[in-house]
């Protein structure tokens, strides 16, 4: 199976790469799918605008549909009409799309640029290449932010994820994502399970009940969110005291919008976001998108993106190049989830475990929510 896949991928690539890719053979427009907002802006400024400046006559259109990328790609495939050229998805979606054959398998060393010092792309990205179809772009984390002015008097600000579960010390509403991922792990961790045993415990029915029971202690104080923009909005409103969301959203609320919010990095949950190329593109569009992909994921471009948003570049060779924020002029390195000061205690989210157990736990979590 694995071998066939690799063979197929290699053939596809030889076709793409071997037919002497010249500008004439490339399509002149691309539709790139992303998440909208500040994140898409950062991609536009760091990748797309420089590319368009270097390739006159090419146009790029953004489609803010990453949230429903899997469903839409399935529909496009069924209708035989794939209108997207490059899609930004989280790693778990990339794995699903790859398994379903909706995303093109890539030979990373073949299609991506090597690091400036000659390190091959696959070594430069390292473990972050979690799927053959996936080109990692950034490391982001789901972590907590809290209202500095709502910390009770005489109490030090929250510093561990277990403070989220401590209603006596930190009263007030919390916002958590409406899904079991991360929440279950945090609950078990705060219920006294050692970090490296979390998934073993969660694999049993008693473990699931234990996690839900721990979440149950704060359930009536939780506002459940489903879009990343909700927690910053709730924090800005003072509706919640502490809430989880993507670290870049919190950075934007704190540094760009000057809200009285502070980060709490303890047990932040790392995740990856990156590109996939839809399967079944015509040769001219495929050639164009491969050309763009090589440009947009080189060492410098990934480092450039960090000037606009506080997500860590996925290439090891990009880290030393991370500079200052483009508008605010502050050093971006301390705001990266990967910065050593922030990554003291990190929760490593297990993709494979969740791929196997997600449907089951989703159902249990939803029925628990409805109780």
């Amino acid at each position: 199976m694995k071998l066939t896949k690799t063979l197929l991928a290699t053939t596809a690539l030889t076709v793409a790469a071997g037919t002497a890719v010249t500008a004439q053979d490339m399509a002149n427009s691309m539709t790139i799918v992303s998440w909208g907002g500040a994140y898409q802006d950062s991609q536009d400024k760091a990748y797309v605008q420089p590319y368009l400046a270097a390739n006159s006559g090419v146009t790029a259109t953004w489609d803010e549909s990453s949230a429903e990328a899997v469903a839409k790609l399935r529909a496009m495939n069924e209708a035989g009409n794939v209108t997207w050229d490059l899609v930004d998805v989280v790693a778990s979606d990339a794995m699903r799309l790859c398994d379903e054959g909706l995303a093109l398998e890539l030979d990373h060393d073949e299609v991506l640029a090597a690091a400036p010092d000659g390190t091959s792309a696959s070594d430069d990205f390292g473990d972050l290449i979690v799927s053959d179809c996936f080109v990692p772009q950034i490391v982001y984390s789901t972590t907590f932010g809290y209202r500095t002015d709502m910390v009770p008097e005489g109490v030090e600000p929250p510093s561990t994820v277990c403070d989220v579960f401590d209603l006596a010390k930190y009263p007030g509403k919390r916002s958590l994502q409406k899904r079991p991922i991360d929440n279950m792990e945090w609950a078990l961790y705060c219920d006294g399970v050692a970090k490296d045993e979390i998934y073993d415990v969660l694999g049993t029915d008693e473990g699931v009940d234990r996690a839900l029971a721990k979440l149950g202690t704060i359930k009536d104080q939780v506002v459940w969110w489903s879009a990343g923009a909700e927690t910053p909005q709730l924090l800005a409103d003072g509706e919640v005291f502490i809430g989880s969301t993507y670290n870049g959203r919190l950075f934007s609320a704190i540094a760009e919008q000057n809200q009285p919010i502070a980060m709490m990095w303890d047990m932040q949950s790392f995740d990856l976001d990156g590109w996939i190329v839809p399967a079944g593109l015509p040769a001219d569009r495929l050639a164009r998108v491969m050309d763009f992909l090589k440009f947009a994921t080189d060492t410098q471009r990934l480092a450039d993106q960090a000037a606009y948003i506080s997500y860590g570049p996925a290439r090891a060779s990009s880290a030393p190049l991370v500079g200052k924020h483009a508008d605010l002029g502050i050093d971006m390195a301390p705001h990266m989830p990967t910065d050593p000061a922030n990554a003291g205690n990190v929760h490593i989210y297990d993709y494979e475990w969740w791929a196997d157990n997600r449907d089951d736990l989703d159902a249990k979590f939803q029925s628990w929510l409805a109780q």
Partner: protein, 396 residues
Amino acid sequence: MNGFTLTPVETKPLSFALPVIGAAGGFAGLFVGTAHGSGAMGIAIGAVALILLAYLALVVFGLGQEKVTRWGIFALFVITGFLLAALPGIVLGVLSGLFFSWFIFWIGEGRYRANLAPYLTSGQVLWHYTFRVICGAIFVFLITPILVVMPLSFNAQNFFTFTPEMLRFDPAGYSLKHYQDFFTSSGWQQALRNSLAIAPVATLLSVSFGTLAAIGLSSEHVPFRRAIMAILISPMIVPLIISAAGMYFFYSRIGLQGTYFGVVLAHAALGIPFVIITVTATLVGFDRSLTRAAANMGADPVTTFFRVQMPLILPGVISGGLFAFITSFDEVVVVLFVGSANQQTLPWRMFTGLREQISPTILAVATILVVISIALLTTLEYLRRRSERLRGMSPG
């Protein structure tokens, strides 16, 4: 209301007036109390305060000094409002002061019966006013969410939040930056251009086809009129998501998905039912003998249509067209399926914007759209009245 009273008013016993006024005070106190942390305390304070005020106004000072007492109550509310919540408190104080200074005497002196027939029972009087309150509450319920959006669109911050500066009416809390963002961001401008390019063409198609269909279906010799009518109106009845999914797969096969023309066609299909319904309604009042008279004088059917029939049914055609325009301009579900990123319309952008980043630019756009919709509906209403006047259906 209009100067004379149907029923002579009489002072009501305190055993009736005080509890009613107290209940109203408690209800108002509930909101103030909740805003300050304790609803129960608010109810208690509100009820006691209002009973006290009513006693003072009705018994101690009496009717003779009504004007002075009213001003006194009004001032008291404004000052309390100011003490509780500064400037916004004054606004609420003015409103509640005006209400309660009137309400105490209205209840206490039995004035609520003045405009009602004398033979009504207490129950009927109660229902008369309850009904009005319910109607008012529904109106408030419908309109408040729209009104709340408008001040928020002038927020100086990037959140959907009434900041303390806004509540103090501090100019620093307000800004036009979200409007500026709308008018300068290429994404929003592209969406506006797309909406403006799609809606008028879709409207034109709906109006042409819808009017023709309505005229055809209103002549008696057409077979299967009802069935054809039902099919043409079905886009209005079938859930939008079903039409959208169907159109997606159908348009994909024939190469229309993701094209400008595809979106226009889809929106035209959604707009046609509105045109058919309004034009059919207008045609009911159209005298068919006029077309025969025109034919008698040598006009061919096309000339008859444009010179005789069209001018008479024009108001119906225009109002149908306006509905079709608003349908296309507001539509998000079908365009998400049938369109591609190049055809992003305003509602599409607002939809994704709400999901991915809660930015008040959406509120600015919403405010602009509300203003446009009000302008369109006002035109519509004006045309309707004009058509009624022309057809002699209303004096005006």
